[in-house]
Amino acid sequence: MAAMEASGPAVLVDGLHKSFRLPHERVHTLKERMLHPLHRATHENFRALSPLSFEVKEGEFFGIVGRNGSGKSTLLKCLAGIYRADGGQAWIRGRLSTFIELGVGFNMDLAARDNIVINGVMLGLSPREARRHVDEVIAFAGLEQFEDLKVKNYSSGMLVRLGFSVLIHVDADVLLIDEVLAVGDAQFQQKCHDQFTAIRRAGKTVLLVTHDMGAVERYCDRAMLLEQGEMTMLGDPHEVGMHYLQVNFERERHEPIAAPTEPQESARYGDRRAEIMRTWFEDAAGLPASSLAHGQPCALCAEVVFAEDVDDPIFGFNLHSNADHNVLAASSERLDAGEGSGTFRAGEHVTFRVRFDNLLAPGRYEVTPAVARGGAWIDRRERLASVVVTSTHSTDAVVDLPYDVSLERSQNSSEALA
């Protein structure tokens, strides 16, 4: 190892591509084959991965992101040697370890101890190496009291911990990891986070396939975006993450808005002298959207039709978070500044729009539009529409306000440290 160049790529991929045959009708029995010897099963070639080339440097944490079916898992399986690529080549320097799924091959009738050994051997360790690891693995998973319990009696959380622990303890130079982060309770998540940081620090090369843009930004040095088997972006994880989110929105915009995002209107009040016809969200480009990116300008809109003449009505919105906080209360009162909104004639159509910068925490929100006058509802429709706010950050806070961080040490303590 030492004789090798330290700066060379740990993973080199050159023109790797892969197609799958999708048979139109699957010949599943020899009998059918015998009865129709001339009948060649027709099939379609589905190109899962177009010729792809990239390098991952030694010690780099490399993210692979993309929608479902974009070919990222196929790429990982080709690199792992689970699929045979149709063409192109890939080189991997050092010991390789792959985690497509946690706890693959756990035998439910065996104790954790035996399973760890089998898993280790499966991943390429010798039985002796695998046995040496057992205690560490069990300690990391925090399962000391349960090591002789059959795995089938484990809770799902315990299984996940065991699987992740096995993953972490294989002594590999290059790790291929597919979507295994979002597991376990908070305490375990913290452990995993520490472990990932430790892996980074240990200078291991990691290729991580994930949907979690937060993880991409937190851990990755570089990231790659795959779309329909092609690499559309390679570079800074933050930019790739933003681009990925944007691509997703655009697609959603062109697809009809899925039914589940329309909430059931829970109640309607008012004398109906005016009616709220519909309400919707608009993104930065002013187009209707079912999801909004954090940090971008956006708008809340409602269309109102008047049935009678009304003087100085007030238009308003309440925006509720999933936890039922009222995170935004906006109304046209502010617009009027005491003068009133004017008189609206019967049959008049009005579009009421509230523009704001989206500083909401990621999550799902529901909006209640209302028209009122003199303290009485004209029309109020509870939770008429909903929207999902996406972000590369996640937060437990109600909103996600922009902030700067600074640390200033007092003179004394910095001297003491020096």
Binding site: H28, W91, V104, M122
Partner: protein
């Protein structure tokens, strides 16, 4: 290993590291065996009961009631030996057929030498055969069968031929089963036919003189019959005393062809097994 590291070659039957193949096969087989051992309250007793029960039934029906083995010394020992050898074939092949499909989860998610799976199924059957043969030996000693020295050389050789035959068949059907799912019932039928086409519950000597040599086309029959001759009763007809040269050559060729074809077919299918499952 170049400066670029190792070229990723995709999955194969044996992998690129023979030691890894051997370790994995061994570990898988030992696990399987352990599970059978500890799997139920009576554990290994059940493993042993299967051939013994079959033996018991066959013995009562054919030997006691129908007098099949009349005039043959040690017929019951021969019957038990035959049943134990047949149990090995049916267990090995029977568990190998769907072994790849049963381990689908592994095949699709981990890179490892694919041949380990059917090989481990056969190896587990070999472990059982070993233990069952101990029972046969005890039974033979109790029945007063004298030790025939040439057996010590021939018996292991015969067992090796049998294992090669079973392994070859297992590789062939386990690989093809991924694509052709009716191979399981076909294998079951084959095993049934194999049982009756082999002089296990009837002695070869009860067959008409001119029919005996044709049974020697069946490699399993040759192994069983020679085993009887060399290990239990030298007066039992040896396949090599039948004047059935051509038939024996065919039986030998069958074993070789099964091994070669099984290995080749498995090798061809191994790289794409993960996608076809």
């Amino acid at each position: 290993m170049t400066a670029l590291g190792a070229l990723v070659r995709g999955p194969t039957a044996l992998g690129h590291d023979p030691a890894r193949f051997a370790r994995l096969t061994w570990t898988l087989a030992v696990t399987q065996f352990k599970l059978k051992f500890y799997g139920s309250a009576l554990g290994y007793i059940w493993q042993l009961m299967r051939p013994l029960l079959l033996f018991g039934v066959l013995y009562v029906v054919f030997s006691v009631a129908l007098n099949f083995g009349e005039g043959l010394e040690y017929f019951e020992v021969m019957l038990l030996l035959g049943v134990v050898l047949y149990t090995f074939v049916s267990e090995g092949l029977g568990s190998a057929v769907n072994s790849i499909v049963e381990r689908e989860n592994l095949v699709r998610k981990v890179e490892f030498p694919r041949m380990s799976i059917p090989a481990a199924a056969v190896l587990t059957a070999i472990f059982n055969l070993g233990l069952n043969l101990v029972v046969v030996v005890i039974f033979a000693i109790v029945s007063g069968v004298p030790l025939h020295p040439e057996m010590l050389l021939q018996a292991p050789l015969l067992l090796l031929v049998l294992i090669a035959f079973v392994l070859g068949l297992s590789l062939l059907v386990s690989a093809l089963f991924v694509r052709y799912r009716d191979l399981k019932p076909m294998t079951d039928v084959f095993l049934q036919v194999l049982f009756y086409a082999t002089p296990i519950l009837y002695p070869l000597e009860t067959l008409p003189e001119n029919a005996r040599e044709w049974f020697m086309l069946n490699p399993f029959a040759v192994v069983v019959q020679q085993m009887r001759h060399v290990a239990i009763d030298p007066s039992a007809t040896s396949p090599f005393d039948l004047g059935a040269g051509p038939q024996l050559a065919v039986a030998g060729a069958i074993v070789v062809v099964v091994c070669v074809v099984g290995y080749r077919v498995f090798g061809r299918m191994a790289p794409r097994m993960a996608e076809e499952l």
